[in-house]
């Protein structure tokens, strides 16, 4: 899992605003949902970057932007130095071979009217140059074996599999083009806990085998901690803290991260007694009209005037070894384990 060398994915100041229109014929833009608002990070070969945050913080939009399923309002996404955010047509198709995705819901992400062989083989039909025609079925069967399914089940349909098996099919489809990066958008949140572990272990094994880099998006902090080398915490479209997994989990510097960690269930009665519980007041503000300055200030117990006036940048601050976006960043172990 060691991350090495040059970054293969470079994201810079990525912004996605969804326009809010009014009127039927004369459309007038009355505002914008700022789903992702200036996110930057790097991903190196073989590395896993976990992205956490509550619902609506822009995690899934970020995944869609990385996959070029949505066009960014501004900013850039470079894969091996090639821009994907602006790529079109054949160029986009070529870049896509390097970045694939595993989706959240294994029940809706597989076409119910296609056989497993057709689902996993579709990447080869779209990218004909990857595998010659006669070779494809054999390759699909190899992929089934790689993800731990019976290669004889190639002619079955998705409904004949369980949730965990379906997610393996989705992973096999993502692996077909031998990408360097796989974006996992909540890949285990639709599965039972026992199945989650199997799928996570599979993802880790595949990472070692194929030297994959993962963007692992989830709201389950313990799953993210288990698989990630680095973790980014998002709040209202912005990255508020980014660092190694141990830094984020044991020495969180941003008050939001601390609050988030204090909400993780601790599977140990003693630990549960000892940990701090930070309960935030209110709801996250609307992404259409975020607060000025620091976006977290409306719910932050440390907020002062400067927080409303100056936006804190994501940078390494005195007293912490990793980047956080808070004027009053201060490491503080919440979980104590």
């Amino acid at each position: 899992m060691a991350a090495t060398g040059e970054p293969i994915l470079e994201v810079r100041d990525l912004v996605k605003h969804f326009p809010l229109n009014q009127g039927i014929i004369m459309k007038k833009q009355i505002g914008a949902i700022k789903a992702v608002d200036g996110v930057s990070f790097d991903l190196r070969r073989g590395e896993t970057l976990g992205i956490v945050g509550e619902s609506g913080c822009g995690k899934s939009t970020l995944a869609k932007l990385l996959m070029a399923l949505e066009r960014p309002t501004s900013g850039s996404v470079k894969i091996n130095g090639r821009e994907i955010a602006q790529a079109r047509g054949g160029e986009l198709k070529r870049v896509r071979r390097n970045i694939q995705m595993v989706m959240q819901d294994p029940y809706t992400s597989l076409n119910p009217r296609m056989t497993v062989g057709d689902i996993i083989g579709e990447p080869y039909e779209i990218h004909q140059e990857v595998a010659p025609k006669g070779d494809r079925r054999r390759k699909v069967q190899e992929l089934l074996e790689v993800v731990g399914l019976n290669p004889d089940h190639i002619n079955r349909y998705p409904h004949q599999f369980s949730g965990g098996q379906r997610q393996r099919i989705g992973i096999a489809r993502g692996l077909a083009l031998q990408p360097e990066i796989i974006v996992c958008d909540e890949p285990v949140s639709a599965l039972d806990v026992s199945i989650q572990a199997q799928v996570i272990n599979l993802l880790e094994r595949l990472q070692n085998e194929f030297d994959l880099a993962y963007i692992f998006i989830a709201h389950d902090l313990s799953v993210v901690r288990h698989i990630s080398d680095r973790v980014g915490v998002m709040y209202l479209g912005k990255m508020v803290e980014l660092g190694k997994d141990t830094e984020i989990y044991d020495r969180p510097a941003h008050p939001y991260t601390q609050a988030l960690l204090s909400a993780v269930p601790v599977p140990d009665p003693d630990g549960r007694e000892r940990r701090e519980r930070i309960i935030l007041q209110g709801d996250p503000p609307s992404p259409a009209n975020p607060p000025s300055g620091c976006r977290f200030r409306t719910r932050c117990w440390k907020a002062q005037e400067i927080c409303a006036e100056q936006e804190p940048l994501l940078q390494i601050r005195p007293g912490t070894a990793h980047a956080s976006a808070c004027h009053f960043a201060e490491t503080h172990d919440v979980v104590h384990v």
Binding site: L69, M103, L110, N111, R113, D118, S162
Partner: protein, 308 residues
């Protein structure tokens, strides 16, 4: 449920469990659907019925030696007879053999019913697929056009179209019916496509770099076609009946043409004295409609792997 079904389905595909498994053939939705259809009693029954009616409409002389277009075959003296060895279904008002007329009437009725169904399904289905998939301006344009057609009262519209052509034959009747009914297929298809389009597997295909035609025909169409098949097969009977209605209004087929619709409308007045001339063509009509509805049902089920 899926887990209990899985071994059974696997066994069925490889024949009896005792036999060594065949090397896996490349299954696809259409292969499997056809494989499955061939053993459905519903499909076999409807296919046999449809086959008989199709042969009847192409080669009616195989079924009867009487030529109903020959005026000499009708004798007024024999009018309104009941069933007998000479006249299996009895005779009508003019003393013509009802069985021979019913057999010869199959061609016009089936041509009108089947071609109208196929044309509306293709036109409405394709436009609905494009409108639902593209959305935006294309969808708005197509939808407004269909609304114009919806606003035309169907009988009045058909009268107008047929009056323009001045000749009532199967093709003009087909055209009139198709022009007025394709918007319904369009709407059903469009709604089904919009539902299918937002599914995750379509997003997954886009992430792989699939082209728009591939997404439309490989992912959306197979998942959106079921309601169109159902409505099309139900409409088929309606088209045959509508042809009868237009004939009755004097703008559809006219005597000496023969169709089930014409026979039914001719026989209405004397129904209580002689029900045969109405009941027999009506029976054939019902059987045809039933056969196509069963066929549509079987095809729809076969295209859904969960129901196999």
């Amino acid at each position: 449920m899926s887990d209990t079904l899985a071994p059974a389905a696997g066994r069925a595909r490889h024949g009896k469990p005792a036999r060594p498994p065949k090397p896996p053939r490349a299954a696809s939705l259409w292969n499997d659907a056809w494989h499955d259809l061939r053993r459905r009693p519903l499909f076999i029954g409807s296919a046999v019925l449809i086959g008989i009616f199709l042969i009847m409409s192409v080669f009616p002389w195989l079924f009867t030696s009487v030529d109903p277009f020959d005026a000499a075959s009708c004798r007024l003296a024999d009018a309104r007879q009941g069933m007998s060895g000479a006249h299996w279904f009895g005779t009508d008002n003019l003393g013509c053999d009802v069985y021979a007329r019913t057999v010869y009437g199959a061609r016009n009725s089936i041509v009108v019913g089947v071609t109208t169904t196929v044309v509306t399904a293709l036109v409405g289905g394709l436009l609905g697929l494009v409108a639902g998939f593209k959305g935006g301006a294309v969808d708005t344009l197509f939808s407004r056009i269909t609304e114009i057609f919806f606003a035309i009262p169907s009988i009045l519209g058909a009268l107008l179209i047929l009056a323009v052509f001045r000749t009532g034959n199967v093709w003009t009747v087909m055209l009139a019916l198709a022009v007025l009914t394709w918007p319904m297929t369009f709407r059903i298809m469009r709604a089904a496509v919009i539902t299918a389009k937002s599914q995750d597997y379509v997003v997954a295909a886009r992430a792989l770099g699939a082209s728009a035609p591939r997404i439309m025909f490989r992912h959306i169409l197979p998942n959106a076609v079921a309601p169109v098949i159902v409505v099309a097969t139900i409409n088929l009977g309606g088209f045959i009946a509508a042809e009868a209605g237009l004939s009755f209004l004097g703008v559809g087929l006219r005597s000496p043409d023969i169709s089930w619709g014409l026979m039914i409308s001719d026989a209405r007045e004397r129904f209580l004295e002689a029900p045969g001339p109405l009941l027999f063509p009506a029976l054939f009509l019902s059987l045809t409609v039933l056969a196509f509805i069963m066929l549509g049902d079987a095809v729809r089920d076969a295209l859904d792997p969960k129901l196999r």
